[in-house]
């Protein structure tokens, strides 16, 4: 029977990769999201490595005795996953660059529907607060909407 007890360090590393990856994915900049995705995928690759059981010798008949072999299937799956992530990293980098070319930044833009809702919120906000600044209309509703959104993101009340 193969010993499948994983090394504790690897398990902790997988957890750390996932936690920091999720944190980065929740950012608004595409490059940070990309870093998060890379971290998570490294975590998944390590998880695949753990799933293959304990470490061993090269799984080549005649080089390593049968009982000392590492599981080649897990490593094959990791290799495939690495290649796929590599290609997608290049693709996202290209997208981030294109976004930077056009907009000067690579922030993931709001969904159209979100923007519409934010605009409604911006229109209603002064009434809700009873503020008297609402007749100052030299800023467009769109700007107000984005300002309201940034305020929410920064933890201030709009």
């Amino acid at each position: 029977m193969i010993d499948t007890t994983p090394s504790l360090m690897l398990v902790i590393a997988v957890g750390a990769f996932f936690i920091s990856g999720v944190y980065l994915v929740l950012e608004r900049t595409l490059t940070r999201v990309l870093l998060g995705v890379i971290l998570i995928s490294n975590g998944v690759n390590l998880l695949l490595l753990i799933s293959g059981g304990r470490a061993g010798g090269a799984p080549i008949v005649g080089v390593t005795p049968d009982e000392d072999m590492a599981d080649p299937l897990a490593q094959f799956m990791i290799l495939t996953a690495i290649v796929i992530t590599f290609g997608l990293t290049a693709f996202i980098l290209a997208m981030a660059y294109r976004s930077w070319q056009m907009l000067g930044h690579d922030e993931v833009q709001d969904d159209l529907e979100d923007r519409r809702i934010a605009r409604l919120a911006a229109r209603n906000a002064p009434t809700v607060e009873g503020s008297d600044t609402s007749d100052v209309t030299d800023i467009s509703v769109d700007d107000e909407a984005s300002a309201a959104r940034d305020d929410i993101a920064d933890g201030r009340t709009p």
């Binding site: 499948t4 994915v25 595409l30 999201v33 995705v37 998570i40 995928s41 998944v44 998880l47 695949l48 753990i50 799933s51 293959g52 008949v61 005649g62 049968d66 299937l73 897990a74 799956m77 495939t80 996953a81 796929i84 290609g87 997608l88 693709f91 996202i92 997208m95 294109r98 976004s99 056009m102 907009l103 993931v108 833009q109 969904d111 159209l112 529907e113």
Partner: protein, 530 residues
């Protein structure tokens, strides 16, 4: 059926090979077009043939002749062959439509040379996902089609497409990572990724662990299939792509997710512990999706929301966990792939004729383009489930299956699907009134719809009508597919029929002893019927 094993890999091999060829010939757009059309026509032919062949039992191909648990298997059974046939028909029609669009836009001089290779890679990925007999192979199939779809969605790199693409790509990537995590966990728990072997071993492990694995897998697939809490990426990203690309995405990509749910729920987790959860999710998907559609004022977004809503019907059929429910769900998938793609293609025509997809600005199309209105009306009524069309037949099948269960939850779902169906009709009629009946705006562009675009759209509409006319035989077929799927043993026995390692060659040096060939009279390369 042993003589037909060569048929199974062809729907993957042909488009993949053609994709390489088309990429190499990027300087010769005419030749590229020829290659793409030929490849997809061949794919359609072979898939249809496979559909006939597998009706008498699944056909299994082992790569490198290694028998299933050791080697990687491709499995063609009724469900996958039906999905393949419908998908390749849709892929072919959409390709012809996009060619027509390219020709009439005069883009021949400046062709996007990667369009054809990517489109063919998408076709290969879809086929690979349908034929995979291996969880990891399914993952690879998903990746092929997703990567191709990322490229197609961001084609041209305009602002709007990069915006939508960023969300789509990140969501797609995360769903793939969740799926891969599930694969890793399943491998750790069972030591195999072969679907047939998993079907046996997952029943033997701790039920709690199995439940976690099931939830992880469902989570990955649910993002791809756009089931309610995980569906919000879809209506935002699909409408920005070019009309043919949106059409093929709407028709196929979510259905690959639905197919995977069908396959894993019946084969790996036949105890159906999550069926009640799926029922609620199906209800939420139907109702919330269709309410989104009612609120939309852009016909492309409206159709994207109806797409989300109708995914709920398929999940309903799967969650019933009964033979007739599954049969109706499979029928509904076949119907929905064609009808949704047709509608998106026709909306492409509407956009061309009316100059916009905003319902507020469209108008008078019934008078300006009567042919187009007929073309829109038939699939639209089909989608809403008006008799005698196939949408009605599919829904009746699902309702019958729900009523047959006679549980309160099934009744809730039955009522929910009727409500969603009526709301679909409302949304569609609203779109119809605004686009076709309200007074025409002053500045309707004076364009003539090219026959090369109308032709493929009409062909696809005829296909939806054919599904209606031949609903009887098709329903029998899907019911037979469901009957075999409800008994996982059919699949397991077909894949694991060989006792040994198959006929694959390996080194003799210090290796395990070769299996005696005389004992392996007929294993490895063929699935034994039933």
């Amino acid at each position: 059926m042993s003589s037909y094993t060569w048929l199974v890999p062809l729907p993957v091999m042909i488009p993949l090979f053609a994709a390489g060829l088309a990429l190499a010939l990027y300087r010769r757009p005419r030749l590229q077009q020829g290659i793409s059309v030929t490849a997809l026509t061949l794919m359609l032919g072979f898939s249809a043939w496979l559909m006939v062949v597998v009706d008498s039992g699944p056909v299994v191909v082992n790569a490198g002749e290694w028998a299933a648990p050791v080697g990687v298997a491709l499995v063609g059974d009724r469900l996958s062959a039906l999905m393949l046939t419908v998908s390749s028909a849709v892929l072919l029609c959409v390709l012809l439509y996009s060619l027509g669009q390219g020709v009439s836009d005069g883009s021949e001089k400046a062709p996007v040379s990667i369009y054809h290779p990517t489109y063919l890679a998408l076709a290969a990925g879809v086929s690979n996902a349908f034929l995979a007999g291996d969880l990891f192979n399914l993952y690879v199939g998903f990746e092929i089609l997703l990567v191709a779809s990322y490229v197609l969605l961001t084609l041209g790199g305009t602002f709007e497409r990069i915006r939508a693409g960023a969300i789509y790509v990140v969501v797609g990537l995360l769903s793939s990572l969740i799926f891969l995590t599930a694969v890793a966990m399943i491998y750790a728990a069972t030591g195999t990724v072969n679907l047939a072997q998993l079907s046996v071993r997952l029943q033997e492990i701790d039920p709690g662990t199995a439940l976690v694995l099931q939830i992880l897998l469902l989570l990955g697939f649910a993002i791809k299939a756009a089931i309610f809490p995980l569906s919000s990426w879809l209506p935002d990203s699909y409408p920005t792509a070019p009309a043919p690309v949106t059409a093929v995405f709407a028709g196929l990509l979510t259905k690959v997710g639905v197919y995977s749910i069908m396959r894993t729920q019946t084969l790996l987790f036949p105890d159906g512990r999550l069926n009640d959860v799926l029922m609620w999710l199906a209800l939420a998907t139907m109702l919330i999706g269709i309410m989104g559609a009612v609120a939309q004022n852009d016909i492309k977004r409206l159709l994207s929301f109806t797409l989300v809503s109708h995914i709920g019907y398929m999940i309903f059929g799967i969650a019933l966990g009964s033979r007739i429910g599954l049969g109706a769900a499979i029928f509904y998938v076949a119907h929905h792939i064609t009808v949704q793609t047709t509608l998106f293609l026709i909306v492409g025509l509407i956009e061309r004729r009316g100059g916009t997809t905003s319902l507020a600005k469209l108008g008078g199309l019934a008078k300006i383009a009567p042919g187009l209105s007929i073309l829109f009306f038939i699939p639209a009524m089909n989608l809403a489930g008006i008799p005698p069309f196939s949408g009605f037949l599919g829904k009746v099948g699902l309702l019958e299956a729900g009523v047959a269960q006679d549980r309160w939850l099934a009744w809730v779902l039955v009522i929910g699907s009727v409500v969603a169906s009526l709301l679909t009709l409302y949304a569609i009629v609203k779109a119809w009134n605004k686009a076709f009946w309200q007074p025409a705006p002053d500045d309707v562009p004076d364009v003539k719809l090219p026959a090369t675009m109308v032709g493929p759209a009409t062909a696809l509409m005829v296909l939806t009508l054919a599904i209606t006319v031949f609903a009887g035989p098709l329903y029998d077929y899907t019911n037979r597919a469901a009957t075999t799927m409800m008994e996982p043993d059919n699949y397991v026995n077909a894949v694991l029929s060989g006792e040994g390692r198959g006929d694959g060659e390996s080194t003799d040096k210090d290796g395990p002893e070769r299996v005696d060939d005389s004992e392996l009279s007929d294993d490895g390369q063929e699935g034994v019927v039933r």
